[in-house]
């Protein structure tokens, strides 16, 4: 079903926008403007949205298993915070879009290394230790972000806020994002059954023949790189990484061999749809896509939490 939903959501994204253009423009030579609008503006943006959504949902699924915590999302270990500090500093210094993107990636990697070395310093990095280290580092980044916002001149604030809420209007060409999404999924699929076992506990997994430390290190690196890529493309888009894995689990997908590809597709679709709403709901004004995912995500998540409460 998700495989059907993906082209549908992309088609929808191509046909809806602030300027009414018919999809028939693609085959109709007389409508060159309409064609270039679709192929040069909407298509790359929709593909970027798909990649970001896929990356975040995939990273969220991996993080939840790594931390064995259903409330984990791709940002919980401070990767988006590090990226935000890199991006906002570039904006504060008036550097261009290229620098903002590059520094966001550097910030994400720095944060990833920082959390890992702090959590790993004594050789023993339990899920709890990693979680606490990541959450505290994320809080630190949060303070730095507030500081940068406080000292920024007013005219720069709008762009910064858009970046923080997640926004696809400055997304780089989608090719790399799509490649990394696909590569991430292909890399994780052979380990999907190990993830099933790890989700049942580290000792259980070790007793069933999983090299737990190696798997966790791999999960941490892969999930962090996927998140870093997503944040670099679109800023910190919220809730996709948290809600999509839960939504699919509630639909009965607990086997990661199915859950991982499903999460990638569902996350991609959600973000494509959310971005379509973001750029057309109040057209010509564009909304940051993170606002739409959060607006969709909050009620869904509260509903899931409520249902879970009834289970326990």
């Amino acid at each position: 079903m998700l495989i059907l939903l993906t082209p549908l959501s992309l088609l929808l994204a191509l046909s809806i926008g602030s300027v009414p253009v018919k999809l028939s423009a693609l085959i109709n030579d007389s409508d060159a403007l309409g064609r270039s609008l679709i192929l040069e503006l909407r298509l790359p943006r929709a593909l970027s949205a798909f990649a970001v959504g896929g990356l975040l949902a995939l990273a969220g699924t991996l993080m939840q298993v790594l931390l064995r915590n259903p409330l984990a999302d791709p940002y919980i270990l401070g990767i988006s915070g590090g990226a935000a500090v890199g991006a906002l500093l570039s904006m504060l210094l008036g550097l261009g879009v290229g620098w903002t993107t590059g520094n966001a990636f550097v910030g994400a990697l720095l944060s990833m290394l920082l959390v890992f070395s702090l959590a790993h310093s004594r050789g023993n990095w339990s899920a709890m230790r990693l979680l606490l280290t990541g959450v505290v580092v994320a809080a630190g980044w949060g303070a730095v972000i507030s500081f940068i916002l406080a000292i920024s001149p007013e005219r720069g604030l709008h762009g910064m806020l858009f970046w923080l809420m997640g926004d696809l209007s400055h997304a780089p060409p989608p090719l790399w994002g799509l490649i990394i999404t696909g590569a991430g999924l292909l890399f994780c699929l052979p380990f999907a059954r190990d993830l099933n076992v790890l989700a049942r506990g580290e000792l259980t997994a070790a007793a069933l023949g999983v090299s737990v430390q190696r798997l966790r290190l791999m999960l941490y690196v892969v999930a962090s790189l996927l998140t870093a890529t997503a944040v670099t493309i679109a800023g910190s888009v919220g809730f996709v990484g948290l809600v999509i894995p839960h939504l699919l689990r509630l639909l009965g997908l607990s086997d990661h061999r199915r859950l991982l590809p499903a999460a990638m597709l569902a996350g991609g679709c959600l973000l494509v749809l959310a971005d379509t709403v973001a750029r057309s709901a109040l057209a010509p004004q564009q909304l940051p896509v993170g606002v739409i995912t959060a607006l969709l995500g909050v009620p869904v998540f509260l509903y899931l939490l409520h249902r879970r409460g009834n289970h326990l």
């Binding site: 064995r68 099933n196 049942r200 506990g201 000792l203 069933l208 023949g209």
Partner: protein, 261 residues
């Protein structure tokens, strides 16, 4: 007993196990052969679980060596160990519960290749294991809707599906009613007869009597080891339980009763 049934599965040589600066046992030499069921006894916090995890290769010993089928345990890949040793942990975590069938099938994990999915044979093993523990018909139930005793039996079924030659069980009788305790001990007895080795942590010495062999831990050392009847009727046993138990030797067998106030 034939020579074959005395083939050693797991051997320790001068094994010293420590946890948090406390010694669990020192210079332990023991051999678990196929067909044997050992009961591991001792009061709370004495290190029964730690010793069990060390024997399973989940912890590294402070000193000494453990050999599994004559190979050093520490040098074997985790997957190979999991094909030979199955572990029943004291408690299960289910932050992400699945169905009973999915859980049982996870026992096949060490036997399947990286890209391989469970086949018909694996499913048959899983169904047989569920029926061995009286959970047939539970396949599609969510694990978090099971009772404590049912989860315990599910964990055992997972172990049966894993099909190792050595079972290391941490309090397998926990949460089980008297009927299911008896069923479990009978099942373990049958497994031992079929050529499997079992070590179980028990709180009830009667379970160790049913198992046949016993090892009694006491403050950093092995206080007694051997046939369960000898261990339970020995002086070390009386000392460890400090007069809280009475041991009855009857023509029908040995029984341990608590001395309530």
């Amino acid at each position: 007993m034939s020579l074959l049934s005395l083939r050693p599965l797991l051997q320790t040589k001068a094994l010293t196990v420590e946890i948090g600066g406390k010694t669990v046992c020192r210079q332990l030499d023991m051999t678990i052969s196929i067909g044997q069921h050992w009961g591991l006894l001792g009061i709370n916090g004495i290190g029964k679980t730690t010793l069990l995890h060390t024997l399973a290769g989940l912890r590294t010993p402070a000193q000494g060596e453990i050999r599994l089928d004559d190979e050093l345990l520490g040098t074997l890949p985790r997957r190979t160990i999991a094909q030979k040793i199955g572990v029943l942990l004291q408690a299960d975590n289910d932050a992400f519960p699945g169905t009973v069938m999915e859980t049982v099938l996870s026992g096949r994990h060490p036997w399947l290749g990286q890209w391989q999915w469970e086949g018909e044979n694996d499913r048959m093993l899983a169904l047989a294991a569920l029926s061995d523990v009286g959970l047939e018909g539970f396949e599609q139930r969510q694990v978090n809707t099971l009772s404590g005793g049912e989860r315990r039996r599910l964990a055992l079924a997972t172990l049966l599906t894993q099909n190792p030659c050595l079972f290391l069980l941490d309090e397998p009788t926990n949460h089980l009613d008297l009927h299911h305790q008896a069923e479990l001990l009978r099942l373990l007895g049958r497994l031992a007869e079929e050529g499997i080795g079992v070590i179980s942590v028990f709180h009830d010495p009667n379970h160790a009597l049913a198992a046949g062999q016993a090892l009694l831990l006491d403050r950093g050392r092995v206080a007694a080891v051997g046939g369960a009847v000898e261990v339970v009727t020995g002086a070390a046993f009386a000392r460890v339980y400090a007069g809280d138990v009475r041991v009855f030797v009857t023509p029908e067998g040995v029984a341990v009763l608590p001395r309530w106030p």
